[in-house]
């Protein structure tokens, strides 16, 4: 399976994503500089974490205008998979590929630590390797991770099963105490209606090896690979 990792100036998790895709999963991952206008035939694009264009002005606000984004949008329209992690999630929201916005954490401070998230929908290419309601232990690492969306869209997200991850207790309860940043309804990750674009604030690539304390983030990557295998080679 071929992954393409979009590198904006200021991105910094691209090498980590590449490490997990290549070294842990044994798949191929190319780094793609943001000035590229054409993309090769990738199965899954990753928009990694970091501070694209310095995140000056507003997170993701400048990155959406990077030359590569037109091709990213076409990839989404064609049904290709896109995974936006942290800053990548913020970029996808700014680009309109995902609903909602990421506001500043209620603590007004950057937070880097492990949290727990509950898998809300396993019927997506990103979550098939998870059990329904499974609790994952993954780190967050952001200053602007408070998910917000208007009430009408929120209803729609819930009805169509587009909320993929919610901050939860270790036991899987959705509580205020388990919500690290004030996200609406504890939302940690959402997908588009076509379920081929996922954005999440936690960093699954940081929870992909036993040595680093957790492997539950690996389930998302394994799901992607599994979905690639399920699709017949002819279909692409």
């Amino acid at each position: 399976m071929r992954f393409g990792i979009i590198v904006f100036p200021g991105s910094n998790c691209e090498l980590d994503c590449q490490w997990v895709v290549e070294r842990v999963l044994g798949q191929q991952a190319d780094l793609i500089w943001h000035k590229e206008k054409e993309l090769k035939d990738y199965d899954c694009l990753i928009l990694p974490g970091g501070f694209a264009h310095g995140d000056y002005l507003r997170t993701g606000a400048i990155a959406r205008f990077s030359p590569v984004m037109k091709a990213v949008e076409r990839h989404a329209e064609d049904g290709g998979l896109i995974l936006g992690i942290c800053n990548g999630f913020q970029v996808l929201c700014e680009a309109g590929l995902l609903p909602g916005a990421l506001l500043r954490n209620t603590s007004l401070a950057f937070i880097c630590r492990h949290v727990h998230v509950r898998v809300e929908n396993t019927a997506t290419p990103f979550t098939t390797a998870c059990r329904p309601g499974q609790v994952l232990r993954v780190p967050i690492n952001h200053n602007e991770g408070r998910y917000y969306v208007d009430p009408a869209t929120l209803r729609q997200l819930n009805e169509k099963g587009q909320v993929i991850l919610r901050y939860a207790t270790t036991g899987g309860e959705i509580t205020d105490g388990a919500n690290p940043n004030g996200s609406l309804d504890n939302i940690a990750g959402v997908c588009n209606e076509g379920r081929n674009v996922l954005g999440l604030m936690p960093h699954p690539e940081r929870a992909a090896e036993t040595l680093l304390g957790s492997t539950s983030g690996l389930l998302l990557f394994e799901s992607i690979v599994r979905s690639g295998r399920a699709a017949s080679p002819m279909s692409r």
Binding site: W19, H53, D55, A109, L212
Partner: protein, 741 residues
């Protein structure tokens, strides 16, 4: 544009003494121009020239089997095996952080990162050692808040994880906080780069951000003490742009993979001046620069201002003649300036032109190698005996040891710092096997089975009470922290924070502390690979505790040796390596409970220290050790308590009995050195005893892990506390203190 005429006032404003000015005239064979005076002023500032410290620093051991590069370059280099090298260095940014905490700390991070990637290494980790005054004072809370936000804001965005460090508090840092930042990078051994200008006629490139008026005379500012007018110095603090620096890192590392680069150095303190003349000095060449070609972001800047600006995120590099296009193409990709501003010359002169006009022409040797060196008078202060005097008979025993323990756990120096390090990205690059909060940070070394451990340490109170012993302990404790994490200590970098070196008592503290560090470095075979001296840490004539900070680098033979302080399960045996003496001098207990900063620091026997460390390492490598924790601030009781609570998702109680005689407070809270707390399976006890016997290290079986209580008994005391109460005191303290007011 004409330059001001040199007057006595102008010379004095440049912080040059009369003798130094006469030396300038002798070197030039004439009176200096205004630009030349500015150049001499910054290059001969304490910050750049090390003129007061040099004679002492030369006594430190700097070579060893693993050291590839000792002091004198941008950073030290240690061989990690498998063709990899660790490039690391610590640097202070105390003065700017006091004047403007956010930008001061942020640019401190940016500066040390440039020192690392300029050597060809990818920066992979940052650690900070911070010192503040008590948090009851709103200004100290403001300073700490600003410094932490600055480290977080810059470090996270530049994409180098802040994986650890330490934060301590004492009254003396109220007027003078310390911000020492360490950066570690990894480079291929055969692709290291140096700050050397070579190849006559080669182009000198200016790359990175544009030059503004920020930071002019920053190095000079860092070479003065503070008074009530220090706030007015705010314009000498630079402003950082982590995004620009991130691009600079990537562009420089990309350039280093080509064959275009000859030498490279960052523009840090004293900016273009220091980088150009140091590169020429190391290369044994001259350098010519036309300031008119320097990219600027402000209009009307004079040659003097361009040469002295400390604008951030800039590098000076020498490329191979004919490779100009390669350099320009790479930097254009990152939208960074890359301009040829001069040439390497054969005449040994630093020539600064403004178009056709020559503004400065200085022999490089005179400026760098012949800079003044002082053996300043050093006198043991009269009050030293007084502060060392401690009669334990005069110190009342605490009524309730449990209450003392809770107070110590809540003392900000000991309390949990999660509220600080959760603000830092400490996981980037997927190397952080043991993160902040443990004795040392452990990183895996990708592509090998080994790991790297890093610890920062330096107890200013010990050094204040006895500079030599305090200096030894700083090294020994840093080494011990690396050892308890499973690594063999290899080399150090140090940051020496002291007061005004023209005061004999400060110079004595400095000389003694360096003497102690040198002795410990020799005994523990951890040479010094570089570092930084920060003098003039005084406000209104009040000096800080002399505070040498040691950054220790260790290597784990196998990453599986990584060991942490927290108990791993119930029913394990708790063992103490080393010996407890009846010592309380300089302890956190004396300060927190009795309000005393008094006595001699704990004694240290470097031979015993080495044996304890070797014993610990052998036991860890043999797979016997489930948890290991250094006994330091707060003594044995605090070490035991921390082992119960250090892992938030796994609290485990302990039941121990201390059978020694003597004062219970000394037994529990004394900070005797060379002690390590282990937990291990009972079945492994015999093997540990055999190892300890071989190293002639005393061990004591203290008790057993398990349950949810902290139960510690002795001949004359009982401490029985719920582990949750320990956790509440330790974890809850800092957030509460920072919220007040």
């Amino acid at each position: 544009m004409t330059e001001p005429t040199i007057t006595q006032e102008i010379i004095a404003a440049h912080n040059l003494t009369r003798e130094e000015y006469e030396q300038v005239v002798a070197i030039l064979g004439r009176e200096p121009t205004y630009t030349e005076l500015g150049i001499f002023s910054v290059m001969w500032s304490e910050h750049c020239s090390y003129k007061s410290s040099k004679v002492h620093l030369q006594t430190l051991p700097t070579s060893g089997p693993a050291v590839l590069q000792g002091p004198g370059e941008n950073a030290g280099v240690v061989d990690l095996g498998d063709g990899l090298a660790a490039v690391f260095k610590v640097e202070s940014h105390n003065h700017p952080s006091f004047i403007e905490p956010y930008q001061g700390a942020a640019t401190g991070v940016g500066g040390i990162i440039r020192d690392i990637f300029t050597m060809g290494a990818r920066p992979i980790a940052l650690l900070d050692s911070l010192r503040f005054g008590p948090l009851a004072d709103a200004r100290n809370r403001y300073l700490m808040g600003g410094v932490v936000a600055g480290i977080s804001g810059y470090g996270n965005a530049v994409g180098v994880p802040t994986v650890g460090g330490e934060v301590c508090f004492a009254e003396c840092y109220s007027g003078n906080p310390l911000v020492n930042v360490l950066c570690l990078g990894i480079a291929p051994v055969d692709k290291l780069f140096y700050g050397r200008a070579g190849g006559i006629g080669n182009p000198v490139f200016y790359v990175g951000a544009k030059t503004g008026r920020d930071g002019i005379h920053g190095a000079t500012m860092a070479s003065e003490t503070f008074d009530e007018k220090s706030e007015e110095r705010r314009p000498t603090v630079q402003v950082g742009d982590p995004f620009r620096e991130k691009l600079l890192i990537e562009a420089c590392l990309e350039l280093m993979r080509t064959d275009a680069l000859v030498g490279i150095q960052d523009m840090g303190a004293a900016g273009l001046t220091c980088s150009s003349c140091e590169m020429a000095s190391r290369g044994g060449t001259g350098v010519e620069i036309d300031v008119r070609l320097v990219p600027r972001r402000e209009e009307g800047m004079t040659p003097y201002e361009v040469m002295l600006s400390e604008s951030q995120e800039r590098m000076l590099l020498v490329a191979r003649e004919g490779a100009e296009r390669i350099v320009q193409k790479i930097f254009a990709r990152y939208d960074l300036d890359a301009v040829v501003v001069g040439r390497v010359t054969a005449d040994g002169l630093m020539r600064v032109r403004d178009g056709k006009r020559v503004m400065a022409e200085i022999p490089v040797k005179g400026l760098v190698a012949d800079a003044p060196v002082y053996r300043r008078p050093a006198v043991r202060p009269a009050w030293q005996d007084e502060v060392q005097r401690l009669d334990l008979r005069q110190i009342p025993l605490p009524r309730e040891c449990g209450e003392v323990l809770l107070r110590l756990l809540a003392s900000p120096t000991i309390a949990c710092k999660a509220t600080v390090w959760e603000r830092y990205d400490h996981m980037l690059f997927l190397n952080t096997v043991v993160g902040p909060g443990a004795d040392a940070v452990v990183l895996r070394l990708k592509g090998t089975e080994r790991g790297i451990a890093l610890a920062m340490d330096g107890n200013g109170r010990y050094v204040f009470l006895d500079p030599c012993v305090g200096g030894m302990i700083a090294v020994a404790e840093a080494a011990r922290n690396v050892v308890t994490s499973g690594a063999e200590p290899v080399a150090i970098t140090n940051c020496l924070n002291f007061g005004d070196p023209t005061r004999p008592e400060i110079m004595w503290q400095f000389a003694e502390a360096v003497r102690g560090m040198a002795e410990a470095c020799r005994a523990l075979q951890t040479p010094v690979t570089g570092g930084n001296v920060s003098f003039y840490n005084e406000t209104m004539g009040q000096a800080i505790f002399p505070t040498p900070i040691v950054g220790m680098l260790g290597i784990l033979a196998h990453i599986d040796h990584a060991t942490t302080p927290g108990w791993k399960g119930a029913g394990d045996v708790v063992v103490l390596l080393g010996q407890t003496r009846e010592e309380l001098g300089g302890s956190e207990y004396l300060k927190v409970y009795h309000g005393l900063i008094q006595g001699r620091p704990p004694t240290i026997d470097l031979d015993l220290e080495r044996r304890v460390q070797q014993c610990c390492l052998e036991a860890i490598r043999a797979g016997l050790v489930r948890s290991a924790h250094d006994c330091s601030d707060g003594g044995l009781a605090v070490a035991l308590a921390e082992s119960c609570i250090s892992e938030p998702e796994r609290h485990i109680g302990v039941e121990v009995n201390l059978s020694e005689t003597g004062r219970p407070d000394a037994l529990l809270f004394g900070e005797g050195q060379s002690r390590i707390l282990f937990s291990l399976r009972e079945a492994d006890l015999g093997r540990l005893e055999a190892i300890a016997l071989r190293h002639a290290v005393p061990i004591t079986i203290l008790g057993r892990t398990g349950g949810s209580r902290f139960l510690c008994t002795g001949r004359t005391f009982t401490m029985d506390l719920p582990v949750a109460a320990l956790d509440q005191a330790w974890r809850g303290s800092l957030p509460t203190l920072l919220r007040q007011g």
